[in-house]
């Protein structure tokens, strides 16, 4: 019975350790999280809600492309300044990410109506990038706490502020912390190793008796003369 338990421990331990190793390698969550945002019809801008840029990792990347090659603008401003710049303009607000790590989906809502203004003319941007047809901005989120008094940092994507927003907008974060590593991976690996060692020790301590001892040699015939 003890041998069976030891063997079970060994097998379970090896299984757990293998599972942990798999979760840390082959089955590990993706290194980055990317969501595509589809602007609502009539939106002249796509804006992230406060906290969205800080979703994960030390940086967030905002990419945008307009299919017709129009100029694309990507800017980051404090939430209050972005709100002041947008006013009541029609916009698509990215409020979070739903779905799973493998198939994330942007949660959005459509707000406002009407046009904004050319974002390039404003000085509210903490950082900005623009280009013909597409633009990309990497925002370092490590210093965003300093912007808390202004509501944090948000990203704004637009063309000229009056025409439709770029049709392809992507937000990408580097996954860190629990999102970057499965929370059960290390406990499985460590726990599995312990179980496997216990099982191996158990097997050693309760070794099956050697064949010779189970079938003792027939005693030698005693000859009497």
């Amino acid at each position: 019975m003890r041998r069976a338990i030891a063997r079970l421990l060994l097998l379970a331990g090896l299984g757990c350790a293998a599972a942990g190793a798999l979760l840390l390698t082959v089955l590990a969550p993706p290194a980055t999280l990317t969501v595509a945002v589809q602007p609502a019809a009539g939106s002249v801008a796509v804006v992230t809600a406060p906290g969205v840029l800080d979703l994960s990792g030390p940086a967030a990347t905002v990419r945008a492309a307009a299919g017709d090659g129009r100029d694309v603008f990507v800017g980051v401003a404090t939430a209050r300044d972005a709100q002041a710049w947008l006013g009541r303009a029609a916009r698509t607000e990215v409020t979070g990410v739903a779905g799973s790590l493998d198939e994330p989906v942007a949660r959005t809502s459509a707000e406002g109506s009407g046009a904004a203004a050319d974002p390039r003319a404003a000085d509210v941007w903490l950082a900005s990038a623009d280009g013909s047809g597409s633009a990309e901005l990497v925002w370092d989120t490590t210093s965003d706490e300093a912007l808390d008094a202004a509501g944090g940092a948000v990203a704004v994507v637009a063309t000229d502020g009056t025409a439709a927003a770029p049709q392809r907008v992507e937000l990408t974060w580097s996954l860190t912390g629990d999102a970057a590593r499965h929370p059960a991976a290390v406990p499985l690996l460590a726990g599995g190793a312990v179980l496997a060692v216990l099982g191996a020790v158990g097997l050693l301590l309760h070794r099956r008796p050697a064949r010779a001892s189970r079938a003792p040699a027939r005693p030698a015939r005693q000859e009497t003369r």
Binding site: A4, A122, D123, A179
Partner: protein
């Protein structure tokens, strides 16, 4: 021995089944576990109760904005070749009026007086903490060829419009700016009519100094301000002209008004205030009735579009003045000034 053998046999027979079940469970767990990994959640920044207003611009943003706003001024080295339309994109208020006047004077072939700061590279900034618009902030420049650091006043009327250079007063000899909070800390805004812990409100400072410039030591407010080189030069020049004109039977009249919404202020580190104000002053010099027409000096002639046959001339000047207001009581000091003619009318 037989019953024991029977038990071992059963245990041995059960073991593979148990092992297979455990292996299956482990495989299922491994397949199921990745699905348990959760997306990170959005955490909105929580604004603390009673938190100070935010900086109008972050320090790095201020440097970038100031550089962009002053670039057209740096490019307009030669007043005669200044692109005034391009300048208006990033320059406004007294600075634009003075640069336009300088361009007009230069176009007439006359060397214009210095319109503003000659070096606009920022070495420090004063960043108010303020919500909403209009907004403003200051940068302090390196000393230029004139050896004097300048204060660049930048203003933005709305979130959709850029900061524009509104004035570039230079420090007076021997003067220094009062210490304000470090750029990252910002400085609290003092409303134009607020006089908490101040000898007078920022608006009162601006209005009373205007009176001192008009009436000199005869102003009832003269003792509220320390003596300064600009006040001395304005008052003595006006008195000399007035004496000369009155001796000839003519007259000199002056008036000075605050530019609309020009008074802005921030709290200094010692509890006082740094105040910026803009003025438009007009000085009308009239000769005696029936007197012989006179001629205008080069700059005035260039701005008036005529140089002779003049019996009356009105010169409009614009001024930007920076004050250091002490905490509690005490005299207010003028620390930086920009001044120049923006138009001349002659008849």
């Amino acid at each position: 021995m037989r019953p024991v053998r029977t038990t071992e046999t059963r245990a041995t027979a059960r073991a593979p089944r148990t092992t297979r079940a455990a292996a299956l469970a482990a495989c299922a767990a491994v397949l199921a576990l990745p699905a348990c990994a959760e997306l990170p959640a959005v955490t909105a920044p929580a604004a603390a109760a009673g938190e100070r207003a935010a900086l109008v611009v972050q320090p790095a943003q201020a440097a970038r904005v100031a550089q962009a706003a002053t670039a057209p001024l740096e490019a307009a080295g030669d007043p005669a070749a200044t692109d005034l339309d391009a300048l208006a994109e990033r320059v406004t208020g007294p600075e634009l009026d003075l640069r336009r006047a300088a361009a007009a004077v230069a176009a007439a072939g006359v060397t214009p007086p210095a319109a503003g700061a000659d070096d606009l590279d920022a070495i420090s900034s004063v960043l108010p903490r303020q919500d909403g618009w209009p907004r403003w902030f200051l940068t302090v420049t390196e000393p230029g060829e004139d050896g004097k650091p300048s204060v660049v006043v930048l203003r933005s009327p709305s979130a959709r419009e850029p900061y524009r250079v509104w004035g570039t007063p230079s420090l007076l000899p021997g003067a220094s700016l009062p210490t304000t909070g470090a750029p990252a800390d910002g400085a609290a805004v003092v409303a134009p009519d607020e006089d908490t812990n101040l000898p007078m409100s920022p608006r009162a400072v601006a209005e009373r100094y205007a009176d001192v410039l008009l009436h000199g030591d005869g102003s009832e407010f003269a003792d509220l301000f320390t003596a300064d080189a600009y006040r001395s030069s304005v008052v003595s020049s006006a008195q000399e002209q007035a004496r000369a004109l009155e001796a000839a039977g003519g007259s000199l009249t002056q008036e000075r008004t605050l530019l609309d919404d020009s008074v802005v202020a921030v709290r200094t580190r010692d509890g006082g205030a740094l105040v910026v104000a803009g003025y438009r002053s007009s000085v009308t010099a009239s000769g005696p009735d029936g007197g012989r027409p006179g001629t205008l000096q080069d700059v005035a002639a260039a701005l008036a579009g005529r140089d002779g046959g003049v019996t009356s001339v009105t010169t409009v000047l614009e001024e930007v003045v920076v004050f250091a207001v002490p905490p509690g009581g005490g005299q207010v000091s003028v620390v930086a000034v920009q001044s120049g003619p923006v138009s001349v009318e002659a008849s």
